[in-house]
């Protein structure tokens, strides 16, 4: 690893100082993200309170299989990226690249399942809460709000996924240029935090969308 990457920007006292600051910055950013999604979760709690039956009717129309597979995929992706981070801490760049590549592909798989298949299915079943919405009658109102939550939640989460994939791709490129070593791998840490956070959001969205409203 060239010594150059151990230098630090002029406002910091050391490279370690800079690295820890970058990691703290990402954590704080994630705190803002918690509140961003928090507003969506409050919308869920609030609207479900007034429309429990409608929410459940909506939830029963979602595709549990794809949702569950996607959860497994995302958890695996987050796990493998964290493993990559563990490898680079030990200086193994080759393994880092492999792990990131798998994590990246899993992420792509998630997006394909979610937007390529599940969303298309939802649209063809008229589950988008537009003028030809499938669920009518007394439960229609609640089901509509449920699907607003579903589409907005998955769309915003999907955008975060795309952002995360760009970042993971950037890590792969930099790792291929051999820019990381056991002494310098801050960007891997920072991206790892973000990637795991996207995972966390999904962990909460998954039961809110697929499980809570699904009784026997």
């Amino acid at each position: 690893m060239p010594e150059a990457s151990l230098t630090h920007e002029f406002q910091y006292s050391s490279a370690r100082h800079q690295a820890e600051t970058a990691i703290s910055g990402m954590w704080l950013f994630l705190a803002t993200e918690v509140l961003f999604f928090g507003a969506l979760f409050l919308t869920w709690i609030y609207s479900r309170h007034w429309n429990q039956a409608g929410f459940d009717a909506g939830a029963r129309r979602t595709d549990l299989a794809i949702g569950t597979i996607n959860t497994v995929i995302l958890l695996a992706s987050s796990f493998i990226f964290s493993a990559g981070l563990a490898f680079i801490e030990a200086g193994n760049t080759r393994r880092l690249i492999q792990c990131c590549a798998i994590a990246w592909l899993l992420g792509i798989g998630f997006l394909i399942l979610k937007f390529g298949i599940e969303w298309r299915e939802d649209f063809s079943k008229h589950l988008f809460p537009g003028p030809d919405f499938a669920i009518n009658g007394p439960l229609g109102g609640g089901a509509r709000i449920f699907f607003v939550f579903y589409f907005l939640g998955t769309a915003v989460h999907g955008l975060h996924m795309i952002g995360g994939l760009v970042l993971v791709g950037w890590i792969i490129l930099r790792a291929r240029r051999d820019e990381f070593s056991f002494r310098y791998y801050t960007p891997v840490c920072v991206v790892g935090l973000y990637w795991s956070f996207v995972d966390m959001v999904w962990i909460v969205l998954y039961p809110l969308i697929y499980l809570v409203g699904r009784g026997p």
């Binding site: 002029f10 406002q11 703290s24 803002t32 961003f36 007034w50 509509r144 607003v148 907005l152």
Partner: protein
């Protein structure tokens, strides 16, 4: 306060002299230059919003309205609200004085993330263009509060574009807040312990906490609103199963803390100026500090007081009312501490101090009238009338804008390297104080008599007080144009400022005026508590 060795800086070492090309400004990551960029932007928006306010007051001179159409009037007050809230009040002190001073006061070279800082300015400018487009291409007539279902289903204004602009401006605020928090945690100079930090930094820290944690909720709320408006689906629309009160809850979860985003930096500015011009330590430093932090937390727990007559549950009204009284306590503590600081001081009456004293008076009035609208039964009568308008203008304009001007005059020599003309500065402070009271005091009475907000025309019995208010507004407008004139003049002809013209403590006064590009010749080491003003007997009037 510290052992900084100040060598006489050559002109080339000043941050202002470090390149004069447009590129050197637009691509700079120097926090001081970004602050200057922000000064320009903020001033622009202040006068846009102020112009709208002038038209509003002009309209209200006659009961039937001077401006022909109610539509125009509604768009004007929405423009005034949106621009003033998101493009002036929320960012004003943090992005200008804050950006400039946070690293200097900490003894740091720059903020933790300089590129992010520049990005925040570009986001802000982009948001500014979008909002100007939206507001001038047809405008929005829903008020800055965007209540649904008026906004989501009934109005035909540019709601979505305005919402997008506010979301982008919000990201700009988040970037600034994040930068400040991390910087204050990580980049304090050696010896700069938490309790040696000036209160200005503490209050910016508290402000940033709110910026970072409240703004994302607004972003999601406006996203839901835009979604609802575009696709005609109702999270907030009762005819589609939603509840409009959910919008109000989400909106005020941001917008109530947001008023503390506006006023907390003002507290910080005043806490610097009062000790400096009293040549005395800040009274009860730790109480002032923890009052700020308490406000940062409690301000999130009171939003429901905007909804006492909106149809929320009785329990929620009771809970939010008592919490609203609680949040007034830390503000009261601060006022008492500023007065305590003046006690037995050596008080000088330079323009910053006059603005600061004006702030204390106006803010106290604004704060006390807040008690009226926190008390449930009184709020029922007073809410949504001009009483509320007067109340928040006392806090936001009388308080916050006075504090902004106080800080601007106080640090003007540091920022520009020039003194402003003192007599003009004092005159400005007095004119603004008088003009402000003439404009807004009559509105308290109007509100008590029942004149509703956002009325393009009004019953004739309210005419006298409205004329009085509009007359006061002309004086206030002159008061605001005056500093624009003499401060601009001083940029070219002002007397050159010394490094520390006020004999103030604080690391920012220990470097040159204007500061060096790298802020300090060598990293300062702090060994003393803040506001360690020398005992009165050795104080000398500044030359």
């Amino acid at each position: 306060m510290s052992e900084v060795v100040i060598e006489t800086p050559g002109a080339a070492a000043s941050y202002l002299a470090n390149g004069v090309t447009l590129r050197s400004w637009l691509l700079t990551t120097d926090h001081k230059r970004i602050a200057v960029l922000y000064f320009g932007t903020i001033t622009f928006f202040f006068f846009i919003g102020g112009g709208a306010a002038a038209l509003l007051r002009y309209n209200l001179i006659l009961p039937q309205g001077m401006i022909g159409s109610a539509e125009t009037y509604n768009r004007l007050f929405t423009l005034h609200g949106v621009v003033m809230v998101w493009f002036f009040l929320v960012p004003a002190v943090p992005v200008t004085l804050g950006n400039f001073l946070v690293p200097l006061m900490l003894g740091a070279r720059d903020l933790a993330f300089p590129k992010l800082n520049l990005l925040s300015w570009y986001l802000f400018v982009a948001a500014g263009f979008v909002v100007l487009y939206a507001l001038f291409a047809g405008g929005v007539d829903t008020g800055w509060t965007f209540y649904t279902p008026l906004t989501s289903a009934y109005t035909n204004g540019h709601v979505v574009a305005t919402a997008v602009a506010i979301i982008v401006a919000g990201f700009s605020s988040i970037a600034t807040g994040l930068n400040f928090i991390v910087t204050i945690h990580r980049l304090r100079a050696p010896g700069m312990t938490w309790y040696r930090m000036p209160v200005f930094l503490w209050s910016l820290y508290a402000t940033s906490v709110i910026l970072v944690l409240a703004t994302p909720v607004l972003a999601m709320t406006l996203l839901l609103l835009a979604f609802e408006r575009i696709f005609h689906i109702g999270v907030f629309d009762p005819s589609l199963g939603g509840d409009p009160l959910l919008f109000q809850h989400l909106f005020w979860f941001y917008s109530h803390p947001a008023v503390y985003i506006m006023i907390l930096p003002g507290f910080g500015v005043i806490s610097e100026i009062v000790p400096a011009f009293s040549s005395k330590r800040l009274f009860g430093y730790k109480f002032v500090v923890w009052a700020s932090m308490a406000i940062a937390v409690i301000s999130f727990l009171v939003w429901g007081h905007h909804m006492f007559v909106a149809g929320t549950s009785l329990y929620s009204a009771l809970v939010f009312s008592i919490l609203s009284f609680m949040v007034a306590v830390p503000s009261a503590i601060k006022v008492f501490n500023w007065i305590g600081t003046m006690h037995k001081g050596f008080i000088r009456f330079d323009a910053p101090m006059l603005y600061a004293i004006g702030f204390i008076g106006l803010f106290t009035t604004g704060g006390l009238t807040g008690l009226f609208v926190a008390a449930l039964a009184a709020d029922v009568h007073l809410t949504q009338t001009y009483f509320v308008v007067a109340h928040f203008h006392y806090v936001m304009v009388g308080g916050m804008v006075s504090a902004y001007f106080a800080g601007l005059h106080f640090w003007w020599p540091k920022i520009t390297g020039r003194m402003y003309p003192e007599m003009w500065g004092r005159a400005g402070a007095v004119i603004i104080f008088i003009g402000f009271n003439l404009t807004f005091f009559p509105q308290f009475i109007l509100g008590y008599l029942g004149m509703p907000r956002r009325y393009h025309s009004y019953p004739p019995e309210f005419e006298v007080l409205n004329v009085l208010s509009s007359a006061g507004a002309t004086i206030l407008a002159m008061g605001y144009l005056l500093p624009l004139g003499y401060l601009t003049w001083s940029l070219f002809y002002g007397e050159r400022a010394s490094a520390n013209p006020w004999n103030a403590t604080g690391l920012e006064w220990q470097t040159a005026s204007p500061p060096l590009t790298d802020n300090f010749v060598s990293t300062p080491t702090v060994t003393e508590p803040p506001y360690n003003y020398p005992p009165p007997e050795v104080v000398h009037r500044h030359a």
